[in-house]
């Protein structure tokens, strides 16, 4: 580099400056495109009093989507969103099946057959003061 002429130096610095400007521009573009103005979807759903879900009942709540299972172990709620890539699973006689890539789950949501790697998510349920149950998807 000791033979660098003034001309070469000028050329190198100009190009580096242009490259910096370009990088800054790309950074700005990514920030511009990453802004979110859509509201975050609701993470809490009120599903009515526990009495609506008697023992041995299975109730699908399509809007969450989730299933309320009331068995010997008590009342628990499983998400119906497939843990593989997010399709909503459908109820079958063996449990649940995903329409997208045929993952299978047993009636309480454990994986029978992949590609799904983990069980249907267990959702937190809280009983509020007015006696209604609240399900949290977050």
């Amino acid at each position: 580099m000791k033979n660098t002429s003034r001309r070469d130096f000028l050329k190198l610095s100009t190009n580096s400056l242009l490259a910096c400007a370009g990088l800054l521009g790309i950074g700005g573009l990514i920030r511009y495109l990453s802004y979110q103005f859509d509201p975050t979807p609701p993470g809490e759903f009120e599903i009515g009093p526990a009495g609506d879900y008697p023992l041995h009942s299975r109730t699908i709540l399509a809007h969450i989507p989730a299933i309320v299972i009331h068995d010997e172990e008590g009342l628990h709620v499983r998400s119906l969103t497939c843990t593989h890539l997010g399709c909503t699973v459908e109820e079958r006689n063996f449990g649940f099946e995903c329409p997208c890539h045929s993952s299978r789950y047993d009636p309480v949501g454990q994986v029978i057959k992949g590609p799904a790697g983990s069980a249907l998510r267990k959702l937190r349920v809280v009983k509020s003061e007015d006696g209604n149950l609240h399900v949290f998807t977050g």
Partner: protein
């Protein structure tokens, strides 16, 4: 369905009510008769009502008008069947003209029964088989101005009827019968165009609050256009076949100037080029024009997107043609470009200085795949829901940058308004612009590289050359043939559209909608069934693309003397690899649809 006859009641006065209540089985019989005699159905079929006793007229109501269904002056089978179901099931409460349970309509029941629901004799303690007249409910009119306001369009009305009517036995109607009743009610309501068959793919376009202009019949015009183009194509081909055609007396126009004055005849053999490059350019042109035309009606907002597509496809004059042309050209483009890629590799045409153009072409194939996917998503109907969710969730699986990629693509926490806007912008502008730039560059490189790959002049056996006039004429012939085929396919096979995605109505009901990827991604859907989503759904397809891009750089090429023919020895390895990849994709695609075929 029967009420126990009261010994003290006046049977003559009750006859009419009974007649209405017994009408359902009669209607079913009539419906079956209609189905059996459908080919002979005329504008006003004779419906026999001899199975029921003749009603006795009451002084205030002309019961003559109840004798048989009022069939609309529309010889659509759907409306006619709907009128019979309405007459048999709905009319008792909603009136023969859709007026609802008005005072006048109550008169039709006779003095004994007209106030029955107030006295409570048909209350809830009635035997379960009985016909309960709702006591407290207001029975609404279903036709007339400012009626049906709770439904935006025919789809919503249909869904309501299917789920809730008849009110004493909801779910009794089949989906098809619900369409028939919807169709008839909207005719009564005078918003339904004539000769219009309601179905899931067009019902959102029919609003309940205003009548859309009567759509015309496009077929004669399309047929004429197809015929003219076919004749022109025959003319073009005939010109090409003429032996002593005048040479070079024509003045070259703009399109001629896009070509060299003459090209070696070797470069213009259809059995070598297959004409796929030119065909792809032609399809791009059709896509550009039809796409711009669709933009005049398409609304990229979730509540309106699928509805506006249905409007284009079912109401706008030639809208169906334009949409179907756009759809079929896009599908054809995928196939034509894949054949082009196969052709280039199987003839070794990418050798040496043409390597760069091979990469540009591969880039265009990628762009078209993205264009096809974004265009598919723009439908924003139930058919695309899962492909959209899977496609965007796949981005999340990429290590490190997954969430940012998802953010960039979806523009929010989940697919919604911003995502549709983004897909729209990518589809109509960014990707299209990139496609135009790469396309122009690609064609420029073909010229710069000396045209279609053939051996250098000193190694050629055939010296003949053809003029650009002949070349352009051949190109136009292929375009005309392709155009006629496209017009035919677009008339015969409509592009898919399903019901709009609406908020919070996700069907968990099994098999309500297919969860199928678009056909060009079926192989990815099959791969995803194997396991880890990132490895199978992202890494493998990307590696495949990189592998294709490296073919000309890593593997032996065809020698220059071998160019211009199929299966040269020089690049055998690349040929084998490409055929293996192509077969693998086809096998995966077949595997993914196999379970459905067996069902």
């Amino acid at each position: 369905m029967s009420t126990t006859p009261q010994p003290t009641s006046n049977r003559k006065d009750r006859l009419l009510l009974h007649r209405l209540l017994f009408a359902t089985p009669v209607a079913i019989v009539l419906l079956m008769a209609m189905v059996l005699t459908t080919p002979n159905v005329q504008a006003s079929p004779r419906v026999q009502s001899t199975a029921t006793p003749t009603p006795q007229p009451t002084p205030t109501f002309d019961v003559q008008r109840l004798e048989k269904p009022v069939i609309a002056d529309d010889n659509s089978e759907q409306v006619q069947k709907g009128s019979i179901i309405y007459w048999g099931i709905c009319m008792a409460c909603h009136g023969d003209q859709g007026q609802g349970l008005t005072e006048e309509w109550r008169d039709a029941f006779g003095p004994q029964d007209r106030n029955c629901w107030q006295k409570g004799c048909h209350g809830t303690d009635h035997p379960p088989e009985g016909f309960l007249i709702p006591k407290k409910m207001v029975i609404p009119a279903v036709a007339g101005s400012s009626r049906l306001t709770r439904f935006k369009n025919a789809q919503e009305l249909h869904d309501f009827i299917l789920a809730n009517m008849p009110w004493w036995d909801p779910g009794q109607l089949t989906d098809e019968e619900a369409w028939q009743v919807t169709s008839y009610i909207l005719r009564l309501h005078e918003v339904m165009p004539l000769e219009f068959e309601l179905k899931e793919s067009n019902a959102s376009a029919i609003r309940t609050q205003y009548a859309v202009p009567q759509p015309g019949d496009d077929r004669p015009a399309i047929l004429t256009l197809t015929g003219i183009l076919a004749l022109a194509g025959i003319g073009m081909i005939a010109q090409d076949l003429r032996k002593n055609r005048p040479r070079a007396t024509e003045r070259p126009n703009f399109f001629h100037h896009l070509h060299p004055p003459t090209v070696p005849a070797l470069q213009a053999r259809l059995r070598y080029t297959l004409g796929v490059g030119g065909l792809a350019a032609f399809l791009c042109l059709i896509l550009l024009v039809t796409g711009i035309l669709e933009m005049f009606y398409y609304i990229p907002v979730p509540e309106h997107a699928a509805v506006s597509v249905e409007v284009i496809a079912s109401l706008v004059p030639f809208g169906a043609l334009i949409r179907n042309l756009h759809f079929w050209s896009a599908q054809a483009l995928m196939i034509v470009m894949s054949i082009h890629l196969l052709r280039v590799v199987l003839t070794g045409a990418y050798a040496r200085h043409r390597r760069l153009n091979y990469l540009i072409g591969l880039g265009m194939l990628l762009l078209v795949t993205l264009l096809d996917f974004t265009g598919y998503v723009l439908r924003w109907d139930e058919g695309i829901r899962w492909a959209l969710i899977v496609g965007t969730n796949l981005l999340k699986t990429v290590p490190w940058i997954g969430d940012s990629l998802y953010q960039l693509a979806v523009g929010g926490p989940e697919p919604a308004l911003s995502s549709l806007e983004r897909f729209y912008t990518w589809h109509i502008f960014v990707l299209t612009l990139a496609m135009i730039v790469l396309g122009a560059w690609h064609i420029f490189r073909v010229r710069r590289d000396g045209g279609v790959a053939v051996p250098p002049p000193e190694q050629r056996k055939e010296e003949a050359r053809i003029t650009r006039f002949d070349l352009v004429r051949r190109e136009v012939s292929i375009m005309l043939v392709a155009g006629v085929i496209l017009l035919f396919v677009s008339t015969m096979f409509p592009a898919p559209i399903e019901r709009p995605i609406t908020q919070n109505t996700i069907d968990v009901v099994a098999g309500a909608h297919t969860a199928r990827a678009p056909w060009f991604f079926l192989w990815v859907q099959q791969l995803l069934k194997f396991g880890d989503p990132f490895l199978w759904g992202v890494a493998l397809p990307v590696l495949l693309l990189i592998g294709l891009a490296l073919l000309p750089y890593m593997l032996p090429q065809a020698g220059s003397h071998e160019l211009g023919r199929w299966f040269p020895r020089g690049n055998r390895l690349a040929q084998v690899i490409l055929i293996a990849i192509a077969s693998m994709l086809i096998v995966l695609t077949v595997l993914s649809i196999l379970p459905d075929l067996q069902l």
